[in-house]
């Protein structure tokens, strides 16, 4: 259980949207054997009667009055865009049809 194959790492990389070289996949797979063995120790004490904690604070939804406040101009919002067009982000083709 505490190890990952090269193919499993390749699948995770695909899910995480990171292209990886063969060398990276193989290296990560071997590193993960050691890392997973170390982190799997959490299972020693995580018994069913312990409630999980997702956050240090007791979070509640925070509401604010619905009033207009100053915000970024379209130029500012697009200032870091790799490409933009007509006040919009220009992105590569998203759907699979022929361009």
């Amino acid at each position: 259980m505490s190890s990952l194959s090269r193919d499993e790492v390749a699948n995770l990389a695909r899910l995480a949207r990171i292209e990886m070289s063969e060398e990276e996949l193989v290296n990560l797979a071997s590193e993960f054997t050691v890392i997973l063995e170390a982190v799997a120790r959490v299972q020693e004490v995580a018994s069913a009667d312990v409630a999980p904690t997702s956050h240090p604070l007791p979070l509640r939804n925070v509401f604010r009055p619905d009033v207009t406040k100053p915000s970024l101009t379209p130029e500012e919002a697009l200032s870091g865009a790799p490409a933009s067009e007509e006040q919009r982000f220009r992105v590569p083709q998203i759907l699979g049809e022929e361009a």
């Binding site: 990171i18 170390a38 120790r41 020693e44 995580a46 904690t53 925070v62 604010r64 083709q93 361009a99």
Partner: protein
């Protein structure tokens, strides 16, 4: 003047002995002479800082009431956005990006007229303990340039130790303020989670990340803490309560009758002899100052590191999904006919470094169906157990203490191929983040065997941050009279410069 504390600089400014413009220029001069060796800074905002300093001088000339740190220079970790100033988080994926807004920490600094000199180096997206994971090259420890300055906030800590700035901002997810402070002989505080706004702090692990103050003295750190802390409606996890009275605590340093709990599990095997010797000596000094030393046990701390390396990567795999090459930052492979997904894959391959990829993949695995309960779910349960350990320990002691790190600064390159050995640096600092409480590291001397600085960690309950400052101030005062001067006077000079 650059070796003075921020309080001393503020006093010189108030008396008219120096202007903020001159003080700021002195620091830029210092940076020009030492930063080629130290490499604490990624970006300098010379014009902006000098203009800001001139504005403060003008306010002072008009007799306006100014904040205690008005006109004092500061180094800002490159993970907090500042409008118009490059923010890289130590990553290629953000190279050249200039954010269109200020983080709340930056807004608070500007409102207090604190001069922002520039952005400091860090492990990429704050993932690391040595600043070796920066895409822009490592930072060097001013005590020994062949050694790491800690991480992820190695740039901020090194800037303080090299007298490039008297104040700095760090962020701490598993020890990234406290461990660099420990290995550079400086002071760093991770406030209670929610004590300082995370708005405009580029997220690594949202339930653990916390920005905080760094300086060379406990009082300077407290003044900076007060300047940046407070409720912020723009951060839904910001605590809506008054800022703990940290400045008064740092000025008092009265620990008479306080109970100081030594965490049994954060000592012993794996801790360098010189680290343990300095820790024991500090306990004796605190006892002499009137504190009562008790021992406490936190049996679940031994699982904290394992839980951290599941929770932090899980949250990071989600947070770093925003770097998708669509709205800002790097875009690679946008050729005719390339799909958005192909561009994303290529951009993230080129833009992220090794450690960031390692953690994204680990987090993706820990959150994937079939493994979620065994890894992420179990880690969340450990988080509960650690918090319970703290709650129980704080019924026996007002603060808890330990060495900040098991060892002094190691050599650059020594652990970069062994992720687990690197992760072990944070063994004593991680529990604090898991429970969301406050933690401070301050210098407790140098280790006999290598002459390098050792950190003393103080942990306080949620929103009782003032207690760290009481104990820190008491210890600092006792150590100063023992040493006969600040610890950084023991550091070798840089490049022959005093």
């Amino acid at each position: 003047m650059i070796r003075s504390s921020a309080v001393e600089m503020a006093s010189a400014l108030a008396k008219g002995e120096i202007t903020s413009v001159a003080l700021t220029q002195l620091h830029f001069d210092r940076i020009a002479s030492v930063d080629t060796d130290v490499h604490a800074f990624l970006h300098l905002d010379t014009d902006g800082a000098l203009a800001q300093a001139a504005a403060v001088d003008a306010k002072r000339a008009k007799g306006e009431k100014l904040s205690p740190l008005a006109g004092i220079p500061l180094a800002l970790k490159d993970v907090l956005v500042q409008k118009g100033i490059p923010t890289t988080c130590g990553s290629k994926i953000l190279e050249g990006w200039r954010p269109p807004y200020d983080s709340t920490v930056v807004t608070n600094l500007k409102n207090n007229d604190i001069i922002i000199l520039g952005k400091t180096n860090m492990d990429e997206f704050a993932m690391g303990s040595s600043t070796e994971n920066s895409a822009y090259g490592p930072t060097h420890n001013p005590w020994d340039l062949s050694r790491i300055p800690g991480g992820s906030g190695g740039g901020s800590a090194a800037a303080l130790a090299a007298f490039e700035a008297p104040l700095a901002i760090g962020t701490d997810t598993g020890g990234s303020i406290r461990q660099p402070a420990a290995v550079t002989g400086t002071v760093g505080v991770k406030p209670t989670y929610g004590g300082v706004s995370r708005y405009g702090l580029v997220a690594f692990s949202s339930s653990l990340d916390q920005a905080g103050p760094c300086a060379r003295t406990v009082l300077d750190t407290a003044l900076l803490h007060e300047a940046i802390a407070g409720h912020d409606p723009r951060d839904s996890t910001s605590i809506n309560a008054p800022v703990p009275n940290v400045v008064a605590a740092a000025k008092s340093g009265d620990v008479k009758g306080m109970k100081i709990g030594v965490v049994k599990e954060l000592n012993g095997d794996g801790y360098q002899p010189g680290v343990r010797a300095r820790f024991d000596e500090s306990l004796e000094l605190l006892a002499k100052a009137g504190a009562e030393i008790v021992e406490v046990s936190c049996p679940n701390f031994e699982y904290a590191l394992a839980a951290y390396y599941l929770i932090a990567p899980s949250e990071c795999s989600s947070n770093l999904a925003r770097f998708d090459a669509m709205r800002y930052g790097l875009r690679v492979g946008d050729v005719d006919g390339a799909s958005a997904e192909e561009v994303m894959n290529l951009t993230r391959e080129v833009g992220f470094g090794r450690e960031v990829k390692r953690r994204i993949i680990l987090g993706t695995y820990a959150l994937s169906s079939g493994y979620y309960d065994a890894y992420y779910g179990s880690a969340q349960k450990v988080r509960t157990l650690i918090t319970q350990d703290f709650t129980s320990a704080f019924t026996k002691a007002d603060v808890l203490v330990s060495p900040t790190c098991p060892t002094t600064a190691f050599k650059i390159g020594e652990k970069s191929n062994d992720p687990l050995a690197m992760y072990l640096n944070d063994i004593a600092t991680i529990p604090v983040n898991m429970a969301g409480i406050g933690g401070m590291s301050l210098p407790s001397g140098v280790a006999d065997e290598d002459g390098l600085p050792v950190g003393f960690q103080i942990m306080s309950p949620v929103m009782k941050d003032e207690r760290m400052y009481l104990v820190g101030a008491a210890l600092e005062a006792a150590l100063l009279s023992k040493w006969g001067g600040p610890i950084l006077s023991k550091a070798p000079s840089l490049g022959g410069l005093a």
